[in-house]
Symmetry: C2
Subunit: 254 residues, 2 copies
């Protein structure tokens, strides 16, 4: 087993038909044995959701340039869990998620299916990276990301990541000037719904909205450096316990 190449599991939240996942798989296939296990359909905004009481099925697709390809009728977390349980022949050495068609910068990590998958394998101790691109276009080219994609992935294969830490990486369009390790900008969404009236006169709502970065002056955030043309690397931790306020809260609630 010692001579095995690293096993790289790749998923996404845009689904098995997205360009981004095949661009990513092609970019890293020289570094290991690559398995794609992605949702059948788009699963944007699915966070760490998992399917309960829903029969999950695995579809096997033709091998693509040496890359093994499967899809699952579920969320990104379903894909990862089922891949580990049933599909991959051994524990992956690396999980890559993406390349997402669209930004996952700022506190949008919390909604991101791309990052849901990365946080999932991070909790199992597998080095995990979510890659996203600041364009929603299905035709996005991604070629500007290639040197960074390869260099970052290779470093993580060689050096691993700290315990309980995964990476949320966003790439800008155009020339990429470098990479910056930063925190997620905080913000929130405004004007979140478009209202419609159906043929029976009843209202329905579709999600829309704009993300408002509430700290546009901060120089240590992903939003700041993406605006300046850099790739942003946010180390993220699945555990949301706020250790720094536990003592203060003990005074209030115990």
């Amino acid at each position: 087993m010692a001579q095995n190449k690293p096993l790289i599991l790749i998923t996404n939240d845009d689904g098995i038909k997205a360009r981004g996942i095949f661009f990513l798989a092609e970019a890293v296939k020289e570094m290991g044995e690559v398995y794609i296990v992605a949702p059948d359909d788009a699963q944007s905004g699915q966070s760490s959701a998992m399917s309960i009481n829903k029969p999950l099925r695995i579809t096997s697709h033709p091998e693509h340039n040496g890359i093994k390809v499967f899809s699952v009728n579920g969320t990104p977390v379903d894909c990862v869990k089922l891949a580990l349980h049933t599909i991959v022949p051994r524990r992956p050495d690396l999980l890559l998620s993406g390349i997402n068609h669209g930004s996952n910068a700022g506190n949008n990590i919390i909604y991101s299916g791309t990052m849901g998958a990365a946080l999932e394998t991070c909790m199992l101790g597998i080095p995990s990276i979510g890659y996203s691109y600041l364009s929603h276009s299905p035709q996005a080219e991604f070629s500007n990301t290639l040197p960074f994609l390869k260099s970052i992935t290779r470093k993580v294969i060689e050096q691993g990541l700290p315990a309980d830490i995964c990476l949320n990486i966003n790439f800008p369009k155009g020339d990429i000037k470098g990479a910056k390790v930063v925190r997620a900008a905080r913000g929130f969404w405004t004007e979140e719904y478009a209202e419609y009236i159906d043929p029976n006169g009843k209202p329905f709502y579709l999600l829309t909205g704009n993300f408002k970065n509430i700290e546009p002056e901060a120089e240590d955030t992903d939003y700041c450096w993406l605006d300046r043309g850099y790739a942003s690397i946010v180390p993220a931790r699945p555990d949301q316990s706020a250790l720094d306020v536990i003592d203060e809260m003990k005074g209030v609630f115990e």
Copy 2:
């Protein structure tokens, strides 16, 4: 407006028919003006998922003992977002989610629809609490939780919570000896799928499994104190940026 009672928005992930949400609403209705906006159906394990490209509809239900009741054909986060956008007459002073039929202790915060809702309003600066109960029974009585439920809710109405912090509270069954402010125990799920063969001879999979607490000896976790008969209070932060490793990661990736 000054004489308005606090507006309390209540949601859950077990859906509008669950006992837990009405128990919670009844318990706190003396403290404010209560709006229930809950999913039409069970949404367990939906994390911070939101519905994209899905028409959301609001159903108005008869008022229940002075409590206004609505449901939405979406996730807990959809309910909260749409409630704020369209249903409640002013910004809520408090968001309560639950009482969940089942534990959300340990790092299961990440999958929890109950906590997805609380994290959502926390990001908007609204004091937010998720309440869960260590029984999945639809017939759970919850009466042992009542003094803690009232006292904790009242304290949060009076004193608020620190910025960017919400609470993940779990109640044990039986006599509750007290409340402990703790961190989430770390662990992972094992044996996650049951495999079946459909009438056409094809396999499908249903989620199952057991949570393995990987730090059973730790005395500062929710699992530890729930086992001892205490309510656990975990302060949780939506922002998953791991600030403590940013400098170390700069050395690797910049």
